[in-house]
């Protein structure tokens, strides 16, 4: 039995690697001195076919004749595949022909795709331009020289799609005959999805001192080339001083390089007691509102500077209406020009990866567009991560400045689920500030990250109070897919301890999707 298994394995390995080897050199006009059948009892062949095989002995070698014979075997035995190879004979001008026959059902790859016996010569990409990480590119190239593997081809096609998720593209693969017999080229075809419906939840958090904060859902429907219609609902208290809850709708049109978007959102706001008290006592408060409606339009562009550096930006106009509750009831206009510039660099190579991102945002409320809030807001952000699996070091830096009288939603705030973890933003500065500096450094080992955060939010002319915190975070490295139900890989648990806070009262944060 062991011998039989060994023989089967030998036969398969010969068949599967036949195409990888250079064809054995056959001397010109070589005479076939013997023909052997391997992997099959010749009694299973018809007498005619056995006679055809034996008739080859003594004849001059002809590759086409041998190929036709293997085809005849396959026709007669449809559950088998056959191939031929040659070996030197007893004399220099003589050769031995070996007919290798194997049962398809003994090999899972062949059962799944008969083309698994062919060798991949090259990988090609057709259709839309895509960006592929070094790691993925290396895996694609590893298929060259190997047998066709349908499962792997499909999986790598999905990864090409995932790495270019923003393109909303469909990636399919196909095989084409190569110039060499028994060799194929793999062609990945990347084309734009014409009709796409997306539904996702993302980026929620529970902060033990600030409560739950989460976009409830976002759904979008794209019909190319008509455009993308989106709708979302949100209830968030994380990034701003206010808790805002409501809905938004949007329409986008254009390509990945240049795109135009129109959005409308309507949010009701809630304020913590700290903020309400601070608003009453401060004569510098811009005032609180209970309803914030915004209509905005913007043009965005994306431009790959190099294969690894992507530049994107946007310019737009926002028309906001605030239903004020303080200092007096009424409506105020919060209109502004907005601009955003961002660059990102990503490099992956085996176990190593480096990611860098930098962005600059500006918003300007002026009388030209009839804004009641006249201000300029600048914000810059830098992120860097270096990974050598399973270790990573992480740095983040954030700085902002507001001049003039900005509405509450344009003021800065830190001390939430993502910044100055351990502190409570409502205790640091319940009205936010018009100046902000923040930095964070972290070391990650597998799923554990130790971090140190430092930063300050203050109003110009007021003293700065630098605050620090340290903590631990448990999380997987990424949660990129959209999902409907909580996915264990998308959860994180953070505990942050404020330093020099007087009371060592930690904050616990359960994150979802970040």
């Amino acid at each position: 039995m062991k011998k039989l298994i060994f023989l089967l394995l030998l036969t398969f390995s010969s068949l599967m690697t036949l195409g990888q080897q250079a064809p054995p050199s056959v001397p010109p006009n070589a005479t076939i001195e013997r023909v052997d059948l391997s992997g099959l009892d010749d009694a299973k062949l018809s007498s005619e076919l056995r006679a055809d095989i034996q008739r080859l002995v003594g004849q001059t070698y002809n590759a086409q004749t041998i190929e036709a014979l293997t085809q005849d075997i396959q026709v007669e035995l449809p559950e088998f595949i056959a191939a031929a190879t040659t070996q030197p004979g007893s004399q220099p001008d003589r050769i031995r022909v070996v007919l290798l026959v194997a049962k398809i059902s003994d090999d899972d790859a062949l059962k799944a795709n008969i083309n698994s016996r062919y060798i991949v010569d090259a990988i090609q990409l057709e259709g839309m331009k895509v960006r592929i990480s070094d790691e993925l590119n290396a895996e694609l190239q590893m298929m060259v020289g190997a047998n066709v593997n349908s499962a792997q081809l499909g999986s790598l096609g999905d990864r090409i799609g995932n790495e270019n998720a923003g393109l909303n593209a469909i990636v399919t693969w196909k095989l084409q005959r190569s110039s060499q017999p028994q060799h194929v080229n793999v062609v990945y075809d990347v084309r734009k999805a014409r009709n796409t419906l997306n539904f996702s939840l993302a980026g929620g958090a529970y902060h033990s001192r600030q409560g739950i904060s989460s976009p409830l859902f976002k759904m979008s429907y794209t019909y190319t080339p008509v455009g993308t219609l989106s709708f979302w609902m949100v209830n968030s208290a994380d990034e701003l001083i206010e808790r805002y809850a409501g809905y938004g709708v949007g329409y986008g049109l254009g390509s990945q390089i240049l795109r135009f978007e129109l959005k409308y959102s309507s949010y009701r706001t809630q304020w913590k007691t700290n903020t309400l008290e601070a608003d009453k006592q401060s004569n510098q408060s811009p005032g609180l509102y209970r309803l914030r409606d915004t209509l905005s339009g913007q043009a965005t562009f994306k431009y790959p500077l190099t294969a690894r550096v992507l530049l994107n930006g946007s310019a737009g106009l926002e028309f906001g209406e605030l239903q004020m509750q303080s200092p007096r009831l009424g409506f105020q206009k919060s209109n502004a020009f907005t601009g955003h510039l961002q660059t990102s660099y990503s490099r992956r190579s085996g176990m190593y990866s480096q990611n860098f991102g930098g962005s600059y945002d500006i918003a300007a409320g002026t009388g030209i567009i009839d804004s009641d809030f006249i201000y300029a807001r600048h914000e810059a952000r830098f992120d860097y991560a270096y990974t050598r699996q399973p270790h990573s070091i992480l740095f983040n830096f954030l700085a902002g400045r507001v001049t003039g009288n900005a509405p509450m939603h344009a003021r800065f705030s830190i001390g939430n689920a993502r910044t100055l973890r351990g502190w409570n933003k409502y205790e640091i500065n319940p009205l936010g500030g018009n100046r902000m500096v923040y930095g964070s450094a972290g070391y990650r080992y597998k799923i554990i990250t130790g971090f140190y955060d430092v930063g300050s939010v203050w109003d110009s002319g007021q003293p700065r109070d630098i605050r620090q915190s340290v903590g631990l975070r448990l999380s997987k490295s990424g949660c990129r897919i959209s999902f409907l139900i909580p996915n264990p890989e998308c959860f994180s648990l953070t505990v942050g301890f404020p330093i020099n806070g007087g009371k060592a009262r930690p904050a616990f944060i359960v994150g979802m999707g970040f």
């Binding site: 398809i104 799944a112 062919y118 499962a151 499909g154 999805a193 539904f199 959209s482």
Partner: protein, 198 residues
């Protein structure tokens, strides 16, 4: 054009459009205690699935054969067969690999032989079908691009992905229904003579 002419033209158009459906037929026979079928006028190796196959991409096929008390009645007997079909881009021949209920492979087949290999294998046990009462047969198939076994885990996220990429992986389907049949009236063939059954 006269009214009669218009009616005739309309009839010709309707007949032309529906000729593919009208030409489909499902025939039954018994072999021992098994019921087998033959389907005529259905080319399930066609369209997008055939294009994928000719591109070297394997395609999963699921075939179901159901015996019903009436066209919309309850199920008397049901069988499901799963195949992976691939196409050798050098030999230009099909391979039919049966996954369920028992694995079996047939290779080096022409298009017609590959279709026949999938249909002729389908059988239903006749024990639950009355030999004198009429019944209906429903034969259906569904095809989609073959996915590796490790990715078949069902999750809502995966469903979202599937729905999102509907255009890429839209399965092709087909149904043929026929009846009423009466078991005792069906032609009989000797057991084991299943033609090209793998």
């Amino acid at each position: 054009m006269s009214l009669l002419g218009r009616v005739c033209l309309l009839a010709v158009v309707i007949t032309g459009v529906r000729s593919d459906v009208l030409a489909q037929s499902l025939n039954a026979r018994t072999s021992g205690d098994r019921l087998r079928v033959s389907v005529e006028g259905v080319r399930f190796l066609s369209g997008d699935a055939l294009r994928k196959l000719r591109d070297g991409v394997p395609v999963d096929y699921v075939f179901r054969l159901t015996a019903l008390t009436s066209r919309v009645g309850s199920v008397l007997a049901k069988a499901e067969y799963r195949f992976v079909i691939s196409y050798d881009i050098f030999e230009e021949k099909f391979q039919v690999s049966r996954i369920r209920p028992t694995p079996r492979v047939l290779s080096h087949l022409s298009l017609a032989a590959a279709e026949a290999a999938c249909v002729d294998i389908l059988e239903l046990p006749t024990q639950s079908i009355s030999s004198t009462k009429p019944f209906w047969l429903r034969w259906e198939y569904e095809a989609e691009e073959s996915k590796p076994a490790e990715n078949t885990e069902v999750s809502l996220g995966g469903l979202v992905e599937i729905f999102s990429r509907k255009a890429a992986k839209e399965p092709s389907r087909g149904v043929v229904e026929s009846g009423p049949f009466v078991l005792s009236n069906l032609p009989r063939i000797a057991p084991g003579r299943g033609g090209t059954n793998p």
